[in-house]
């Protein structure tokens, strides 16, 4: 057997874990670190509520095992703000009322941050297609698209 220790850098801080291999990355964040911002919606890769960034790329943290990510850098919603200053996309979500119940919001924001970084936010139609992995049962899509569009606009300015 390989070393039983898995080391991950989460929101800039390195952590070492001894894990049951069944532990999903999502459960590691929520159950082992108490980072409850990342949400468990469907737990089957269909809703996007568990979206986090791993080495800068958005993934569904429910569909991957934590032990598969030794050495990775993980960013969750708790790691986006700089001190008291929200990330620009967090600010845009507030500005545009891009949520109602808020359960999907951390996943929407992480996915939106990646959507912007990938350059897939040049028009509302493109944003809709590239945000389709994040479901919002309150139907706040209009605000979500507007928030991402505004953040893209500010990035271009």
């Amino acid at each position: 057997m390989a070393s039983p220790t898995t080391s991950l850098t989460i929101n800039g801080i390195q952590h070492d874990f001894v894990l049951d291999p069944r532990t999903s990355l999502l459960d590691l964040l929520r159950e082992h670190l108490g980072l409850h911002g990342t949400k468990k919606g469907c737990n089957q890769g269909a809703c996007g509520a568990c979206t986090v960034l791993v080495d800068g790329k958005r993934i569904n943290s429910c569909l991957t095992l934590a032990v598969m990510h030794g050495g990775a850098r993980v960013t969750t919603i708790e790691g986006l703000a700089e001190g008291a200053r929200p990330h620009p996309l967090q600010a845009a979500f507030i500005e545009h009322d891009a949520f109602q119940c808020g359960y999907c919001t951390p996943g929407q924001i992480l996915s939106g941050v990646a959507c912007l970084a990938e350059g897939h936010a040049s028009a509302p139609e493109e944003i809709k297609a590239w945000m389709s992995g994040n479901i919002c049962r309150c139907g706040a899509y209009a605000g979500i698209v507007a928030a991402i569009a505004e953040a893209a606009e500010k990035n271009r300015a």
Binding site: M1, A2, P21, T64, K128, A129, G133
Partner: protein
């Protein structure tokens, strides 16, 4: 999830040796972990192959070579893929979600299991999950099920968009296994359900897909993937068609067509292809080709609509491919 042991392999040889001893490969995990959580899959030993040097995309005189561990998103964004094989890029981007495309490997995409809801429900009979238990889909809600390649034991469709595009383009897979390496057409990977729907592919025990090769073809440039589904994005196909055309002086020299959402395996439409060879490239020809596609179809109550939808999707996909300058 049933308990399992986990090991990461450092080389293909090590992975194959561990798999021969009963280990199951895991790459992106987007299918396998989902099914393990439902306890539809219960491997006792997982071999993580993500650290093997099987990624990357390259080109040689014969075609585009895609490493089995390249991720869907990586291939879709690769300039060589877009230049040489736009159909592959289009099919990849029509599948899954951005998050899943960042995770899912090319090899895993080809090996993904069916999305039949009865396969994924433990209390429903399913010959694929539990051989001999019966098929709950027959007589069930068949709207999304196959009309070609079915048997009395299984009517589930193959879910991969990429596989449909690759079958149309004559893609091959390269594998490594206990008996060495080999390369064969992707079409030969998939088995019709017949009496043994639990046997889905022709890989040998411990055989590992290492790469996919897409040959350069005169038809690769005029090629489109059209996917018809209930949602504009992030949904499996009701019907999809990959169409590639080699046209010269207004005539079809060669057509390559495959369909998804309608077959138990990615479905190459050979009769339609043959009918198009040498014809004038116009709507009349597209319609005749589409008619031939459903000659052997056997719809069930609930999915008869696919007979018409498949033909219309073929016509439209051929039109779209033919419009490429």
């Amino acid at each position: 999830m049933t308990p399992f042991s986990y090991e990461a392999a450092a080389s293909a040889a090590e992975a194959i040796e561990k798999s021969l001893a009963g280990g199951r490969y895991i790459a992106g995990g987007t299918t396998l972990i989902d099914l393990m959580r439902e306890e539809i899959e219960r491997p006792e030993r997982l071999i993580d192959i993500n650290r093997l040097p099987l990624g990357g995309i390259s080109e040689d005189a014969g075609g585009l070579i895609i490493g089995a561990l390249a991720r869907m998103a990586e291939v879709a964004a690769h300039p060589a893929a877009g230049r040489a094989q736009p159909l592959i890029v289009e099919a990849l981007l029509e599948g899954a979600s951005p998050q899943l495309r960042n995770m899912a490997s090319i090899g895993g995409n080809l090996m993904q299991r069916v999305r039949c809801p009865y396969f994924r429900t433990l209390d429903a009979p399913c010959n694929k999950r539990t051989p001999g238990s019966g098929c709950a889909a027959r007589g069930g809600f068949t709207r999304a099920h196959a009309i070609l390649g079915t048997s009395e034991h299984c009517i589930a469709t193959h879910p991969s968009d990429l596989a449909v595009a690759l079958v149309a383009l004559g893609g091959t897979i390269r594998t490594a296994g206990p008996r060495g390496s080999r390369e064969f057409p992707l079409e030969e990977l998939y088995r019709l359900p017949g009496d043994t729907p639990h046997l889905e592919h022709t890989l040998l025990p411990a055989e590992l897909i290492t790469a996919v090769k897409v040959p350069h073809g005169a038809y690769a440039r005029r090629a489109r993937y059209l996917k018809v589904r209930d949602r504009a994005s992030y949904e499996f196909a009701l019907v999809s068609v990959a169409a590639a055309l080699d046209i010269a002086d207004g005539r079809v020299r060669q057509a390559r067509i495959a369909a998804g959402g309608i077959g138990t395996i990615p479905w190459r439409l050979r009769a339609s292809e043959a009918a198009l060879a040498g014809t004038v490239a116009n709507e009349t020809a597209w319609r005749e080709a589409a008619t031939l596609a459903v000659a052997d179809a056997r719809p069930l109550p609930g999915n008869e609509y696919k007979l018409v939808l498949l033909q219309r999707t073929i016509v439209r996909a051929l039109e779209l491919a033919g419009e490429i300058p």
